[in-house]
């Protein structure tokens, strides 16, 4: 098939390579506009607090101060970015109203003639905050009496009446009874910063025809435009988003976190406004990969087949949803791994704490599941006395196997991929493993499972 192709399959030189090595590639921050203003954010120094008052008087007297934006200036301040795909409720604030839920939450946007003036004005804003108890652990947040982060009375995202995304196939409890071995593990993973070398940012520019052009490094141009239109309560055709060249994304530039407020500032000052995250904002405020705590309980047969797998996962979404509710569903679709397991139970919780919000990051919902599952597989191998290759081969899924979410497996190539890896490192596989394929299982083959 490859022989028929002319250019697909060729290592053609990158079309943007010359731009990158000469520095001609234009990132959003390489643009500048006459009269451009700079937006810097006043952020909560506390993890959880009631806002009793804000005093802007000293900030307003800073030379170069232009204006401050508060939540009252934002037409649709309470929103959720996934509202566009039907996720509810709206629970995050462009600018905080009476409460802050994480250290770093945005409260007041300061717009000034220079970055230095904006920084100085930010430092002169006086916040009157009453500290509230805060919760930081993904399971402590679910205990009775834990401080409640959300507006709906508990610290989980609700999935159609359930506090978690559920997957159920077969009967894990009955299978555990039959199993020869029970193998359990608890896996904890740390929040990770995407840390692209270019920080998140945009420049919103008023145009001659009354529209606004937003130069942005978002990973999702229309997603950002549509959310901005909702937050600013303007028709989408008043907005013109330009981007497409991103200095690293890794999921860190899908939160629509700078465009709405920068565009609003441009509307209210009638001048271009630049809002770019500093590196410390990117580190401490911008969303991260969530922390995960994953409990796995497996029932294994004497010959090493996984009869049942029960997974209970907790993702620390931080103070707001962002994309995390979506991630738990994706996680649930992958949390049993690429293995043929006839009895599976998955409970995947999206939990809110008073932390820096979590959101998309490379491998969203899956990377840390793969970590937990693959360490667990080695645990199983050791328990039953099989080597790590064999345990994976005999449990690997085939085309036509039913996955825990009841989709039939297709394009299953785990077996062939493992064979290739073994060959690459010079690992001799026994004949039966070398002969395996991902082809649908033949009639009469039950693989020792039930």
């Amino acid at each position: 098939m490859s022989a028929d192709l002319n250019v697909v399959g060729q290592s053609v030189a990158r079309s943007d390579g010359i731009g990158h090595v000469t520095g001609r590639t234009q990132f959003f921050g390489d643009r500048t506009f006459p009269g451009m203003l700079h937006l810097k954010m006043v952020r909560s120094p506390l993890h959880h607090a009631r806002i009793r008052g804000v005093d802007l008087s000293k900030a307003e007297r800073v030379s170069g101060f232009v204006r401050a934006l508060t939540w009252k200036d934002v037409p649709h301040n309470l929103y959720t970015i996934l509202g566009l795909i039907g996720v509810e409720p709206e629970e995050e604030y462009v600018l905080a109203e009476d409460r802050v839920r994480f250290r770093g939450e945005a409260i007041i946007a300061i717009v000034a003639e220079t970055e230095a003036a904006a920084h100085e004005a930010v430092s002169k804003v006086r916040l009157d905050l009453e500290e509230l108890p805060a919760v930081f652990d993904v399971e402590e947040a679910l205990l009775p009496g834990a401080p409640i982060v959300t507006s709906w009375g508990n610290n989980t995202f609700m999935y159609e009446g359930h506090p978690c995304r559920r997957v159920r196939l077969g009967d894990v409890d009955a299978a555990f009874e039959r199993a020869d071995h029970i193998v359990e593990g608890v896996y904890n993973t740390s929040p990770i910063e995407q840390a692209p070398l270019e920080t998140t940012g945009c420049i919103a520019v008023p145009e001659a025809n009354g529209r606004f052009t937003v130069y942005t490094n978002t990973q999702a141009l229309y997603f950002s435009l549509d959310n901005t239109a909702i937050i600013l309560q303007v028709p989408g055709n008043r907005l013109h988003f330009v981007g497409g060249t991103v200095g690293g994304g890794f999921g860190g530039k899908v939160d629509v976190i700078v465009e709405p407020i920068a565009t609003l500032a441009a509307m209210l000052t009638n001048r271009p406004v630049r809002f770019a995250y500093s590196r410390s904002e990117e580190m401490q405020v911008s969303s991260t990969r969530s922390a995960w705590r994953i409990y796995i309980k497996d029932g294994i047969s004497r010959d090493g087949h996984i009869l049942a797998r029960k997974v209970t996962s907790y993702a620390d979404s931080g103070a707001y949803s962002r994309q995390t509710p979506y991630a738990l569903t994706k996680h649930a679709a992958n949390a049993a791994g690429p293995y043929a397991i006839p009895n599976v139970s998955i409970d995947a919780y999206c939990v809110f704490t008073n932390r820096q919000p979590a959101s998309a990051m490379r491998g969203f919902g899956v990377t840390m599941a793969s970590f937990a599952l693959e360490v667990q597989m080695d645990r199983i191998a050791e328990r039953v006395g099989l080597d790590p290759w064999t345990i994976r081969f005999i449990n690997a899924y085939h085309d036509g196997d039913i996955k825990p979410h009841r989709k039939l497996a297709e394009d299953a190539t785990l077996i062939e991929t493992m064979q290739a890896a073994a060959a690459l490192v010079g690992r001799e596989l026994p004949d039966d493993l070398r002969a395996m394929t991902s082809a649908p299982r033949g009639a009469g083959h039950d693989g020792g499972r039930d």
């Binding site: 993890h47 995304r165 559920r166 904890n188 993973t189 999702a220 922390a291 994706k330 990377t367």
Partner: protein, 336 residues
């Protein structure tokens, strides 16, 4: 005190597409009078080389040279809707949309050529180098550029195409989780070799060797770039990175690159990879996608290798020298 070596493996799948689907991408293609083709998109290139890969797919489908393709992205005034670059969706969705648009443009080109050359459309082919000819009669060949100019000025027609690709959005059963979450699965298997210094707890990753199955490599050099960059990022996740070093305590969160640790040029392991291509039924030329998954199998392979080397099983990331030393201590307590 010793330097102990160990080997670990991990095998993973990775799904293609925004979970549950409902994530369309559109493409518009038009020919210029000089025979180049502008592909209008709103997709974003994050550095992985999407512009190049999409250009290759467009060129292949149209039958012209890569150099004749102009990728015009991303501007919402000129580019049609695109959901965004995330969830390993871009090459798959945008690629399919571009194929549909290119086929329509190609058909328009062949229709004009068929009139001009007085041959049936089915008897025409484009050779991949911008030459349009009657099959089996290379002497009856014209340049695509010439047909494009003729179309505009002699026939008054556009040479253009539209394409959209979407996996229909799947519902999720709230009780059973029954759903159709993805378009296809790519796979990886990594073998990692580490050396652990039992005095300092430091881990040196000696090698990360992987097999990937990605359906189709549009550009093997760019795929290799993802594999190598992802192996590094996986090593970084496994051994260094955290914004909450003492989770759940919120203290000591890094503020800058001096506090947020990532390995550098002095920590580079040997990286080797082999790529299999078992085309998916629904990807452009069988593409599955690779953008996110390349850190996934290295992480547990490294952690499993550490166990093999030391007998210390660490279940929480990142693996730090402190965790290794405590683990070694627990296995063999020192003098009281």
């Amino acid at each position: 005190m010793a330097r102990l070596r160990g080997t670990g493996i991990a095998a993973v799948n990775y799904p293609t597409g925004m979970n549950l689907g409902g994530d369309p991408s559109q493409a518009l293609i038009h020919a210029t009078t000089s025979g180049s083709f502008v592909v209008s998109l709103s997709a974003t290139d994050l550095g992985q080389g999407l512009r190049t890969v999409i250009g290759q797919i467009a060129a292949e489908t149209l039958g012209v040279e890569f150099g004749e393709i102009v990728i015009d992205t991303a501007d919402t005034d000129t580019g049609p809707h695109d959901m965004g670059t995330f969830a390993s969706r871009a090459t798959h969705r945008v690629g399919n949309a571009v194929i549909a648009a290119a086929l329509e443009a190609r058909r328009a080109l062949l229709d004009v050529a068929s009139e001009e050359l007085e041959a049936a459309v089915d008897d025409l082919e484009i050779d991949g180098h911008g030459n349009l000819m009657v099959k089996g009669a290379p002497s009856r060949s014209v340049r695509v550029a010439d047909i494009a100019a003729l179309a505009q000025f002699k026939y008054g027609r556009t040479i253009s195409g539209r394409g959209s690709y979407m996996k229909a959005k799947s519902p999720v059963d709230p009780e059973t989780g029954a759903m159709d979450p993805d378009s296809t699965e790519a796979h990886a298997c990594t073998v990692a070799e580490v050396e652990v210094d039992t005095e300092t707890g430091e881990v040196t990753v000696l090698s990360i060797k992987s097999a990937y199955e990605v359906g189709r490599q549009v550009n093997p050099a760019l795929v290799a770039g993802q594999i190598a960059g992802g192996a590094w990022m996986g090593m970084s996740h496994a051994l260094y990175e955290t914004t909450a070093p003492y989770y759940p305590a919120p203290d000591h969160s890094p503020r800058d690159f001096s506090e947020y640790l990532m390995p550098g040029t002095l920590e580079m392991p040997e990286i080797e990879s082999v790529v299999l291509e078992m085309p998916s039924s629904n990807g452009p030329y069988g593409v599955k996608g690779i953008g996110e998954m390349t850190a996934n199998s290295p992480i547990p392979a490294i952690v499993n290798a550490i166990y093999h080397a030391t007998g210390v099983r660490i279940d929480d990331l990142p693996v730090t020298p402190e965790k290794i030393l405590r683990g070694l201590e627990a296995r063999q307590p020192g003098p009281a």
